[in-house]
Symmetry: D2
């Protein structure tokens, strides 16, 4: 609720990725198409190794999107909180570290 | 005698994953839906960290599918080639190792 | 009293990880011992799968150390630069993102 | 009849990696030295990002060793069991898949 209100008064500060929103949405729709293609490969009994190659490609593409979002998150949301200081800065930093750990381990 | 010839004479033995084909296709369609959901999160300006959490979940789900396919590939296609022996066994083993390396590194 | 001042008067506090320095050094020496153990497993012709299990354990232990160092780096060096602002903040953020990408991809 | 008995009668076939044993042992001793170097970087208060870069390098080097060992394990131990057939083939394949999963997820 509040985040949306903020967004209405100040779009640029909404999220780190907002200025590149169209780019991320477009890449994710392409990835969605790739996953649909992999499901079809299974339907069509395509060779296992070719399916695995496509899965590796999707994982790499998703990782790239994630690293881009994270970079912008650190440069905007986290930096903003750090500049303000206090508990919110601590919370944002801990949250970012947890997200990084999930990415490294997934 | 090619794989396609073999497939024509015996669809069920076509690939390692054939007996679980519906299961894999279903999981991939669910993953496709998850990626579509992530694209929508971007459209709707959802919080970066929540987007990253979903991307990590998709990566884990894709890895599970890949490990399942690989397990069946080793137990069927590769084992079959190894039992036959010769160059084809060598080729299948090298191909599987390359696919494993791509998965580990992606 | 800034981190830089502290650093000048006390090298031990120089970096984000400084207060936990002994802990990190100790974990790395344990990892060093694990790697030495793996080399010995090879010398002693231990079973391949057991060697692989130990390598996976070392990779996980190194990842944990890396995630801890990164967390402290974000909370100290990067936060300090962000609070100061300017080019150095940009540079530190870009540098952290590049390190995260290397970890995710390695 | 144990693995050790087999080894005694035929050292060369002991494990997949046996013919490249010196190469693997040498690479692991180099990695051990790299980890010792990272511990020293911490002792010497080196910059966090430089420490992280070295950790990524060690992880990549360990992954390479693991992929090499796995490739030889599939081409020797697993292939041998598959050629023999039966429960042992099943067991070796399941064991290899589990090791691959640990590598992909670590």
């Amino acid at each position: 609720m509040t985040e949306v209100d903020m967004a209405e008064s100040n779009d640029a500060a909404l999220h780190g990725y907002s200025t590149n929103k169209d780019n991320y949405a477009k890449r994710l729709r392409r990835i969605e198409g790739q996953v649909r293609g992999i499901a079809k490969m299974i339907d069509d009994d395509k060779y296992c190794i070719d399916v695995l190659t496509q899965i590796s490609a999707v994982n790499s593409a998703l990782q790239s999107v994630a690293l881009g979002l994270l970079d912008e998150h650190l440069g905007h949301c986290v930096s903003h909180a750090v500049a303000e200081g206090g508990d919110e800065a601590e919370r944002k930093l801990a949250e970012a570290s947890a997200a990084i750990a999930r990415l490294v381990r997934s």
